[in-house]
Amino acid sequence: ERLRVGYFPNLTHAVPILGLRQGRFAQALGDDAVIEPRVFNAGPAAMEALLAGELDLAYLGPGPAITGFVRSKGRALRIVAGAASGGASLVVRGDRGIAAAKDLAGRRLASPQIGNTQDVALRIFLREHGLQTRERGGPVSVLPLAGPEILMLFRKGEIDGAWTPEPWAALLRRERGALELVDERALWPQGKFPTTVVVATRQLLLERPMLVERWLRAQIDVSRWIAAHAAEARAEVNAGLRDLTTRDIPVEAAADAWSRLAFGEEILGEALAKLAGDAQALGYLPSYDVAGLVDRAPLERALAAAPP
């Protein structure tokens, strides 16, 4: 038996990186399943693989998770746990006289990818402040751009700001004259919104629910260990990232980014529902009832089994 698990070489994926590195997942599964880790560069690719039946379990952003659920009409996957929260913000150039949301009129802003978590957040944020995007006849341009391009254009002054996840947000904040207009945590109850979630295929949940439960039990241990050994964890995640990408992430930015992330298994169901509703409201997704998006059962069993 094998368990194919997808994740990204990202700071927000500290949980799977550490768990796999420290062998905790393997230990939890024992002889019942061999873990086959698959590393992806971004959500759409991971979701393609999952929809194609090439993955059993995956860590990814709530955006792709919701998209995958809706596109498959609920047939493909369930969110079974959270993994990370926080770590996204709107950073603007200080020299543009932007002090509040209303000053964004007539500006060019960037988001990482159409329909991803931050893109939805940005557009909803604008809408809530009475601003429409250009394609809807409004005064704000939103450009989906990859991280490196965002940074370069920010430096050149061709964009006025960007709503990005860590570590890009941290890199932007470090630019001269940069101003953090919105820390996304401020927009959510208790400052918590999902950044990385765990999805399992329905097939896995139906055929081998025990594996999911044991996986989550190990994950709980990992997040608790991170909370208890923050510095050590950070160093080890860096090492893990270096193994995956052969390169280090810039140290200063990493520290800043790390400080804005929280790791835990909490599912944040209401936030997920809001994200799904927002994406549908923006027309990114066909309307489909997301009631069945979350399957709490494995996590609850895992929590019950875990020592407090």
Partner: protein, 223 residues
């Protein structure tokens, strides 16, 4: 995989909400500019490289090397040099298509029958004149097929270049489809791309090749 019905529905939606039409129009305008520049520069460079050994060993090698760089690598440079403008996209298109035209032209030039060049020279032609009036027409079949390939690579690069920012274009539609995991949209756009590709091939190159084959008397192995 989406069902054919899904794809059809996506197609219908794209057509009715105008996004396919606008996307095609925008992309075609960009490619017209980018490809036009590629053809002019590519012919010039190709002819120059075919002519001067010094250029061949330097620029020629460089050209081939650059040719292997994927379009996506050019994005940062495009932004750096041209900012967020149409020109940046056009630059990506040019980098994608230019070099296959250069290579084909250079090849056509090198494979010019020596007898025709000699004939041109006894008519007092040399240098640029010889090039324009003898070598270029003689290399035409090779150049046309290089331009055909170049066109398809321009088109491919455009799709990459249009990832740069939202401004309609088929490449953007494609990315949206992929990012939103909307495979039926992706397939619908792919079909659109293929359709436009075929239309342009038929219009531009089909005719050119037929004329050339008739004049040259190439009939293939069927004749």
């Amino acid at each position: 995989m989406p069902s054919p019905q899904d794809v059809l529905a996506s197609f219908a939606r794209g057509l009715s909400d105008g996004s396919f039409l606008i996307g095609t129009a925008v992309s075609l305008r960009r490619i017209a500019v980018g490809y036009g520049i590629s053809v002019v520069l590519g012919l010039g460079l190709g002819l120059a490289i075919g002519r001067f050994r010094l250029l061949e060993d330097t620029v020629g090698s460089l050209v081939f090397g650059l040719q292997t760089i994927p379009s996506i690598c050019w994005l940062p440079f495009a932004i750096l040099w041209f900012g967020l403008s149409e020109r940046a996209i056009v630059f990506v298109v040019v980098m994608g298509a230019l070099l296959s035209i250069v290579i084909a032209t250079d090849d056509g030039v090198k494979n010019t029958p020596p007898l025709l060049v000699r004939a041109g020279r006894t008519m007092g032609m040399r240098g640029v004149g010889l090039y324009a009036r003898v070598v270029l027409p003689s290399a035409l079949p090779a150049i046309v097929s290089g331009m055909k390939l170049g066109w398809s690579f321009a088109w491919r690069s455009l799709m990459a270049g249009e990832l740069l920012f939202v401004s309609a274009g088929l490449g953007q539609l494609l990315t949206v489809g992929r990012d939103l995991n909307d495979m039926s949209l992706v397939i619908a756009v792919m079909l659109l791309i293929v359709a436009v590709g075929l239309a342009v091939e038929r219009l531009l190159f089909g005719t050119a090749e037929r004329v050339i084959r008739r004049r040259w008397g190439f009939v293939g192995v069927r004749g």
